[in-house]
Symmetry: C2
Subunit: 434 residues, 2 copies
């Protein structure tokens, strides 16, 4: 058997500790499978004395991850620090420049610097593997880079943020408000003290931007993701969705269109019986529509130390077996420029909920505005019990047939101007799924 592949692990949080534990439990089996052992020989973290539940004695300790990245002791630098700049970025650049393979779980770093880092890895003829950066334990990076490499991808979409999915699932199951669910999620450790990065959709956008590049052979462009979070979703929307045969999920969707590639993160109505609608709680799911494979859906844990370690170790196993793949599928210098499809040209069905003043002709105004924009309606729901207490307002819900975003937005402007509604209408896009 070849000499052991020597690993340096930077960052000993939950994931780092799980990686060390996995390798100590299953290292022998992995060595037999890969024909080569992989062994942690050095680590980097701030506090050498903290108890992490794993044995780090006998490992060389670095306080500076860049020093670890440059160390001759290691063949592979495993970056589990996090963040799109600072020590994570510096150490990954150092490792690649020093001709060391890098394995990372850092989505923010890749979303921001992925193309540049890919070029640096390819220049130095080393690998940059990042299975754990997108959807935790779900092997979506390998699936796209390798298993589906023979397909032209038409769309990739998924539930890639466990915090949002936990909140939406609880709102549906228990009928409780967004705010109460968020507080619960924070209590249970599913949401950060500052949850905005998750609930506003930024975390999903990072992952989506990476998948877009892999799926479509384009440069990563995380700043071009259209973003709507879940903060405006109410239990009224969730109940209405349920009655109309849908569930509401925060999806990240990248889709080829005539004018470019849409990248969008927003609350989405998905048909109840679709595979993606069944994905509850903190689970993640990613679906790919390819021209040869058809539709493939992967469901699994999107976070957690052990699940993420499973992905980190699969990246290490590829290196132990000597398997290399271009970082972003295509060689970095052959990635096409990303052309953003404008959201106003997005085509799809829409769910729209208005608070309508209970006056003669109010609904006629709404119907007229929709008709003016050639928007045809699939369902109209207006119920007495939807009346808002102590006001003359009642809730009216429309489901449109396929139309364009610009038509919907112009119709909503016209309706607002007519004075028949109160406040801003709720608008949720419907995703067409098989």
């Amino acid at each position: 058997m070849a000499n052991a592949l020597r690993l340096g692990v930077a960052g000993l949080g939950t994931v780092g500790a799980s990686v060390i534990r996995l390798l100590s439990q299953h290292g022998d089996a992995l060595a037999r499978k890969n024909g080569r052992a992989a062994k942690v020989v050095a680590v980097s973290a701030r506090d050498p004395n903290r108890d992490r539940g794993v044995d780090v004695s006998g490992l060389t300790w670095f306080t500076d991850p860049v020093a670890l990245a440059n160390s001759d002791e290691i063949d592979v630098f495993v970056e589990l620090i996090g963040g799109d700049s600072g020590p994570a970025e510096d150490s990954v650049r150092a490792a690649l420049s020093a001709g060391k393979h890098v394995v990372t779980a850092n989505k923010a770093l890749l979303a921001k610097h992925g193309v540049e880092l890919a070029a640096l890895a390819e220049l130095n003829r080393v690998s940059l593997n990042y299975e754990a950066a997108v959807a935790g334990g779900i092997p979506i990076v390998k699936t796209l880079r390798e298993s589906l490499s023979g397909n032209a991808v038409n769309r990739i979409y998924g539930i890639m943020n466990g915090t949002c999915n936990y909140i939406l699932t609880r709102m549906e199951r228990d009928g409780i408000s967004f705010e109460d669910c968020l507080a619960d999620a924070q209590r249970l450790g599913y949401a950060e003290a500052d949850p905005s990065f998750d609930i506003e959709g930024n975390d999903t956008a990072h992952k989506l931007a990476i998948l877009t590049s892999l799926a479509f052979g384009t440069k990563i462009s995380a700043d071009d993701v259209y973003l709507e979070g879940i903060t405006s979703i109410t239990t009224a929307d969730i109940q209405a969705a349920d009655e109309l045969g849908y569930r509401i999920k925060l999806l990240g969707v990248a889709q080829r269109t005539d004018t470019g590639i849409e990248q969008r993160v927003h609350p989405t109505m998905v048909p109840k019986h679709s595979a993606i609608a069944q994905v509850d709680g903190v689970l993640n799911a990613v679906a790919v529509d390819g021209d040869f494979v058809g539709s493939l859906v992967l469901v699994g844990p999107g976070a957690g130390g052990d699940a993420t370690a499973s992905s980190v170790v699969s990246d290490i196993a590829d290196l132990a077996r000597g398997c290399r793949t271009n970082v972003l599928g295509m060689p970095a210098d052959e990635l096409a420029d990303y052309t953003r499809a404008q959201m106003r040209r997005h085509e799809g069905g829409y769910y729209i909920r208005f608070s309508v003043h209970d006056r003669p002709g109010a609904f006629a105004e709404i119907a007229k505005a929709m008709g003016n924009k050639a928007i045809s309606l699939q369902s109209i729901v207006q119920r007495a019990r939807a009346k808002v207490a102590a006001t003359d307002l009642q809730s009216v819900i429309l489901i449109t047939h396929e139309t364009t975003e610009v038509a919907v937005r112009e119709a909503l402007d016209e309706i607002a101007a007519s004075g028949v509604i109160s406040g801003v209408p709720q608008m949720i896009r419907i995703e067409k799924l098989n």
Copy 2:
């Protein structure tokens, strides 16, 4: 770029034609991704003049696949002939012995000769790739061999036969009998003229036996799969399952137990809200429970020329990139012997449906027999409308808590001996899912 990888394709049925079409449509993109082109240079099929919808002019034609396998013109032999012996076996052996990589979609061949062929491939330092042999377009082989290689697998299970799943889905949706569904499936080309291989579970057993080896590092042992097909399932069972919160699916399940590894294929009650329960029609799904990743579920097309070609081409892409993996994960000579767990020791919940004579004390006999075997009951369903016309029989359904197969079988024997029931009770195992 390196010289093109030269492919010889044996068998030009639906899958073979799709592989040629895929490579002609996406060959350039694949070459850029893999750093090496892959090109079909020779083919083997019986009739050179049949129109297959793809251009085979300019390719060297072999009528004998063994001659193709031995030809110096090719680097990779792609076997799409099928069957566990004859030309498929002979040509695969010839190719491996001649030091050529083999890509195959042939589950029957692998289920029967997999370990031996793996040893032959490893001896000749070539790859034997077979992503398309299990669950068509779903990349479960790569997921197990590579992505989850750091996990100890506790259980792997799935819906791996589209014919059975189509029939069970139609029976549920449309309330029609097994026989009518089967006839429909045959009309639509989802079932063979002789459907027994599918509906008796043999096809699922082949796939399961391969997955068992990959998941548990044991020798393939397809003859040790416990087998029950779907022919005894009635609409009454499906309706009862629905009312009790379950769906009935034909699952293949391999599971580590104290006494060995269970391999079983049987109709299974799965909770309605589990991911696997949502998999309808001809779709396939495979789920893996690993100690680090937790539960991962892959859903996609289990058959069809294009989806299968997607998997065949991913195997070819691995070869173009120079990536090799042991055929069955572990080196063939390190695979453990397979130790069969006896079905009588199987533990789980059971659905049992009796036709009971409507006499005083009948139910007491049943309850006593269950009690004698320490089987506790979760639900009992006995309804007037379940009465069988023109008889004194009524349908009684029990759902047991977790117990053992031997306890259930002995209880059923005791109940049969007491004379209170008519015919053979229906017994369907319940799979515990998260």
